[in-house]
């Protein structure tokens, strides 16, 4: 599979506690997935500041260079990335599912797919095989489940925390790697003009509101036992009948596959 032309889009992350710049968790997983598919032929693209040291952590994963589309902070990355991808000739574009800084809406892969007219796979976990311009991939679902999909190349895939964990970044290759900056047109993001970012407020805890009109109802609500008692109880039935009842409920809930 090394003949595949794969691009991974990377961003600068922020440490969840200190806020210090680092490689973004999900983007690093996307790089890991790309490295497993294409090896050293994987291309990295970043839209932003080429002087950013945190970007070198991606190079330390075993890559020699990274293309940086030079932009000031607060610029819109979408048009420049669309332009770049349109001419890059990639068959697979990998991204994280949402940025760790800025808005972090997770819209980028969706908008890129819409503008390029490519299909989009969300939550890519593994690429099983690629043949005849068709890729067979595994998609990660909640609760640890997987779904098999067949997609036509080229396509965009976003990865989340179900993708393979990223390898460590080595210091030497990270220093030796090159960030190749290129000039692009700058488009301002209109959102920042009307919205403001503020430090996250802790979410208010939901209160248990008791809407009782009379004292008796309030007393009942305050002293009520948890346990509904509405369940069905099968007593003195044969094990087969009991098993049948359980089986029916399991099928009804769709947990038996």
């Amino acid at each position: 599979m090394t003949d595949l032309n794969i691009i991974t889009l990377v961003s600068v992350g922020a440490h969840p506690t200190s806020g210090r710049a680092r490689r973004a968790e999900q983007d690093a997983r996307a790089v890991e997935l790309g490295l497993r598919l294409a090896g050293e032929r994987l291309q990295l693209v970043h839209a932003g500041d080429p002087q950013e040291e945190a970007l070198r952590a991606y190079l330390g994963m075993g890559l020699g260079e990274m293309a940086v589309l030079e932009q000031p902070p607060g610029a819109d990355a979408l048009p420049v990335l669309t332009d770049y991808l349109r001419h890059a000739g990639a068959q697979l574009v990998l991204t994280g599912s949402q940025a760790e800084t800025g808005e972090g809406s997770g819209m980028l892969p969706f908008l890129l797919a819409e503008q390029l007219g490519w299909p989009l796979v969300v939550g890519l976990a593994e690429v099983e095989k690629i043949e005849n311009g068709l890729a067979q991939v595994l998609q990660a679902l909640p609760r640890g489940q997987r779904r098999r999909l067949k997609v036509r190349l080229p396509f965009i895939a976003s990865v989340d925390n179900a993708a393979p964990a990223a390898r460590q970044s080595a210091f030497g290759p990270a220093r030796r790697g090159q960030l190749l900056a290129s000039e692009v047109a700058i488009v301002d993001d209109s959102l920042l003009a009307e919205a403001q970012l503020q430090a996250a407020r802790p979410r208010p805890k939901r209160l248990k509101v008791i809407k009782a009109k009379t004292g008796a109802e309030r007393m009942k609500a305050a002293t009520a036992k948890a346990a509904g008692g509405g369940g069905q109880v099968l007593k003195e039935v044969s094990p087969q009948a009991g098993a049948e009842a359980i089986f029916k409920l399991l099928v009804e809930e769709g947990v038996l596959r």
């Binding site: 800084t101 809406s105 779904r147 036509r152 403001q196 970012l197 009991g242 947990v255």
Partner: protein, 407 residues
Amino acid sequence: MSDIIRRDPRAEWIARNRLHPLHAAMQTAATSWMGPNGLIRKNPHAVGFIGPNGIKRIDRSGAEQGGNQKRSAASSVVQLPLHVIEQPAFHIAVVPDMVGGRLSAHDKDLLGLANKLAGSEGAVVAVVFGEHKENAFDTAGVDRLLHLDGELFDGYAPEQRVLALSAVESQLAPRHWLLPDSRTGGGELGRRLAAKLGERPATRVWQVSEGQCIGRAGAGREDLVRRAPRLILAAVECAEPVSDTRHEVRPLALQNQIARNLPRIEDLGAVAVDPASIPMAEAEFILSGGNGVKDWALFHHAAVALGATEGASRVAVDDGFMTRDRQVGASGIWVTARVYLAVGISGAIQHLQGIGACDKVIAINLDPGCDMIKRADLSVIGDSAAILAALIERVAAYRQEGERDAA
């Protein structure tokens, strides 16, 4: 209230007072009386009483006396007031996740937010894809229900669903689109819809008030405050669910046929995942064993046969039958399974806390009075080994049937 038979002094007083306006209505029809000629007359229709099954019963032993209806407490089911929107000034469209075919807590929060945005003029439209098992749309706050069913939407068909939603957009032009920002489909569908409609959505929104919305930004260290856009992807607990009104759930249909697109993504179906490798906290189906399990080999065999993730109560872990990382409960793991099958667990309060988020609980136990039975939706009283063996057999037969159908 209890079902104790009580005297009603007021009814007795009315029965004595022939001038009371309610006298005639409250008088029980006499079955026999003396006619003007001294002949005893009988009313055969007034004999007997209606039994609990709705069948008329005549008791000739003489035990039955007088009033044939038992006085019991008035049923306490309160009918909530109906909220009617005849001519909606605008629509608020909600696309619930419907995990397992029912409205999840997240969906109900979202409907609560939609009702807040709709006020008294707008109508909340719920767009539901495929089969569903929900029967409480009215109390959840759905004014109009648009049910899109058909093979087009079966399986994983996000592109087809987006096409259907854009047809809804052109028909109703809703003032707001609300979707749950969840991994179970809403987050993806909402973003696809946003890209299709060219709307910039507000994501991970946890508060909407007075035209402003607040959502988490970045990795959760910052909030983004902005004017509420048309498309809102809301987080869990974004608003209080509807609790004090009933809604009409009037069915709504699409006027135009939904365009059929050639799917670029083909769904090849779910892949069998080793249930033991799924983290317990997010497993969907857990088979949990406790002190009542004697045959642990059979228990493990049952877990494999059912495709369930294994769990255990604290006693089973302390006794060394299961590892510590499999313990469910306050000092172990708080699970969120949709179906939790508890075998031989009596239900200590710490264990019940751990399974508080589970949807359906099934209990197999010898003791019909234990706390787990009170919590369970279905309980089978009996020997766990025999029931597990029968269940394994039943599931094996079901699997074979499926294979034969597929072949």
